[in-house]
């Protein structure tokens, strides 16, 4: 039997029962749309939360830690290890806070194939002065463009522009809390006094809000050169090196290596944010669990509706077989109906899912933690749409295939006798 006559039969079946066909298709639509909306929204929120910490935290942070020396002079003494050595009241070792040979170290690290980028920081205690008042604070000297490229600093600038800082060595980006307390706006000038008494006047070119009040109340950003000047140090004075890797999971072993090679303290992102990483893992597990559950539920829904749709036509299957249609013909007729319904319902599901995702994406969501985020985050990853449509097709195919397969091998009389 030519395929067009079979398709003509399935077309007539679908169109003459338009309402039922639409309900079956809407069942598919509902399942797929729900899957897409929930997965897009959940992964969007996860991405937001990850971005909150992971984006702005260096994967490896190198610095000089002020700490007691791990090996005390007595350890050098022969056979000291067999005895009990008790040293009381150990004091931290006198050590520079600057990283020795920072610039060559950075150049070497930058060559490493796993490293995405390296930034230098000079951080210093300072006082913001406004009239007679001196506010205690912390100023970070950074290369603002690199900092933005690697750690998204720009997302936290609520007023002003990072390029104004880049082009002006006498500029500062104030923490939001500091700006409030000093009552200073963009374009104002403020004075900074270092612990040693050096004094610089800087123009406010931006306001920075991280969302963590204790940081926003004290911290500000300026160019490295500016802070070095404030501290009265030379241009090789670097206190921190921040490294971002291509692959975050390599942070721990690489931090150990760098620690050994350069004789510095190194903290990797996993250690620095241990509880956060647990949170990320748990959120990911929840996302997987929810999406798999949704797919299973949607799959069963689709299967049920279509199964009913086909079983209602069992009588027709018997008639077709009694009048000489082969099992294969019957299968083609009913599977093609299932596939058409799956395709129509699935595509509608993608459209509805996308539409509602766009709606969610436009619902206002204001949080102090992320000044640049104005609406709820939604992940419009194309792969969810592909999973959705493939799943719709597979489940509708099975829902059509299994009853059709059963009908194919059945004596038509078994169906007729059951009437």
């Amino acid at each position: 039997m030519d395929i067009f006559s079979l398709f003509h039969i399935s077309k007539t079946h679908i169109l003459s029962r338009f309402k039922q066909s639409m309900i079956a298709a809407l069942g598919v639509t509902f399942g797929i749309a729900t899957f897409i909306i929930l997965v897009s929204f959940m992964t969007g929120l996860n991405g937001l939360l990850d971005g909150l910490i992971l984006d702005r935290t260096p994967h490896i942070h190198l610095f000089n830690e002020i700490a007691p020396s791990k090996s005390q002079p007595i350890d050098l003494l022969a056979n000291a290890s067999t005895d009990w050595n008790i040293i009381r009241s150990i004091k931290p070792k006198q050590k520079q806070i600057r990283i020795h040979n920072a610039l060559p170290i950075m150049a070497t690290i930058k060559e490493h194939p796993d490293v995405l980028g390296v930034t230098a920081q000079v951080s210093s205690q300072a006082f913001y002065t406004a009239g007679a008042i001196e506010l205690n604070g912390l100023i970070q000297g950074v290369n603002i463009l690199e900092e933005n490229r690697l750690f998204n600093l720009g997302s936290y600038i609520i007023e002003g522009n990072i390029y104004d800082l880049h082009t002006n060595d006498n500029a500062i980006i104030l923490g939001a809390g500091v700006a409030d307390k000093l009552n200073s706006k963009l374009g104002d000038r403020i004075q900074l006094v270092s612990a040693k008494g050096n004094r610089v006047t800087l123009k406010v070119v931006g306001i920075y809000q991280s969302g963590l009040a204790e940081i926003d109340n004290i911290q500000s950003y300026a160019n490295i050169k500016t802070v070095q000047l404030l501290m009265g140090e030379k241009n090789n004075f670097i206190t921190d090196i921040n490294i971002k890797l291509h692959d975050m999971t390599k942070a721990l072993p690489m931090s150990k290596t760098f620690e050994q090679i350069y004789d510095l303290s190194a903290i990797d992102i996993g250690t620095a944010n241990a509880q956060f990483e647990t949170g990320t893992t748990i959120r990911n597990i929840i996302t997987y669990a929810v999406s798999i559950t949704l797919l299973i539920v949607a799959g069963f829904g689709i299967y049920n509706i279509l199964n009913m749709f086909i079983y209602e036509k069992m009588n027709d299957i018997a008639i077709l077989k009694a009048t000489g249609f082969s099992g294969r013909d019957v299968m083609i007729i009913f599977i093609s109906q299932a596939i058409i319904i799956g395709l129509v319902g699935g595509i509608l599901g993608l459209l509805v899912g996308y539409g509602l995702s766009v709606v969610i994406d436009n619902i206002p969501f204001v949080t102090d933690a992320l000044p640049t985020i104005k609406t709820y985050p939604v992940n419009f990853d194309i792969s969810y749409y592909i999973i959705g449509i493939v799943f719709a097709m597979v489940s509708t195919f099975l829902a059509g295939y299994l009853p059709a397969k059963k009908a194919k091998d059945m004596d038509p009389v078994i169906i007729l006798r059951g009437q």
Binding site: I9, G324, D411, L416
Partner: protein, 227 residues
């Protein structure tokens, strides 16, 4: 001249095994020749419909041998059987069993389209001819769910005739019709045997109907009682 055998049954036995073993058909053996108009009679539950379904190849769960045109069909595959039904057997049910979404014409044409021995135009022409013979050509384009019961039964007969089968089988084809329509169907059958030498095998419990046929096979308790 010895007439060819259309359907021959040899020692057909069937059991229903649903709740308990029930021996429905016991050693059924008979032969139907070309051009015969045969009716099978019997009380309800004596197995006559079951026998008919086996003879029509729509039921394959039995033991014994069934020959169609002297060829053994008992052991053939489902696919082969549907092809045989399509080409050689026309079937008329007690309930008309048309495809309700399609027009009368389409319902009649489907078995021929499936057989694919003629072009669509020829099939359509044949279908309209058959409908005209049964005096229902004016409803050819109606939806088959929107015609009367008597008309439906005649459409079912037209569908059974479209491939010019060797035999038409009917399971109480008049059982659901009033006497006027029943007479009508009967006269159509008689006309068909006379005009085109068609073989007919009809299950009925209507004695009046049966008496008009060439040969009556009476069944009781799963056996053929008399011929």
């Amino acid at each position: 001249m010895k007439r060819t055998s259309i359907i021959r049954a040899e020692n057909i036995n069937k059991h229903f095994k649903d709740a308990m073993n029930f021996h429905v058909l016991k050693d059924i053996t008979f032969d139907i020749k070309q051009g015969e108009f045969v009716s099978i009679m019997g009380k309800s539950g004596c197995g006559k419909s079951t026998l008919l379904y086996i003879l029509s190849t729509m039921d394959t769960a039995y033991t014994g041998n069934l020959y169609l045109l002297d060829k053994l069909v008992s052991k053939t595959s489902q696919n082969e059987l549907t092809r045989i039904r399509n080409e050689h057997i026309g079937f008329v049910f007690q309930f008309h069993y048309l495809l309700p979404e399609f027009t009368v014409l389409e319902n009649v044409m489907f078995p021929a389209i499936k057989l694919a021995k003629k072009s669509k135009q020829e099939i359509e022409h044949d279908a309209i001819e058959t409908l005209r013979m049964l005096d229902i050509e004016k409803i050819a384009l109606n939806k088959s769910s929107k015609i009367s019961g008597g008309e439906k039964q005649r459409v079912a007969i037209a569908r059974a005739l479209i491939n010019k089968p060797n035999i038409i089988m009917g399971d109480e084809p008049t059982g659901n019709l009033d006497s006027k329509n029943a007479d009508n169907v009967l006269s159509i059958f008689k006309q068909l045997t006379k005009e085109i030498g068609l073989t007919l095998l009809i299950v009925t419990h209507d004695l009046e109907f049966a008496q008009q046929t060439d040969r009556i096979i009476t069944m009781g308790d799963g056996r053929i009682i008399s011929e």
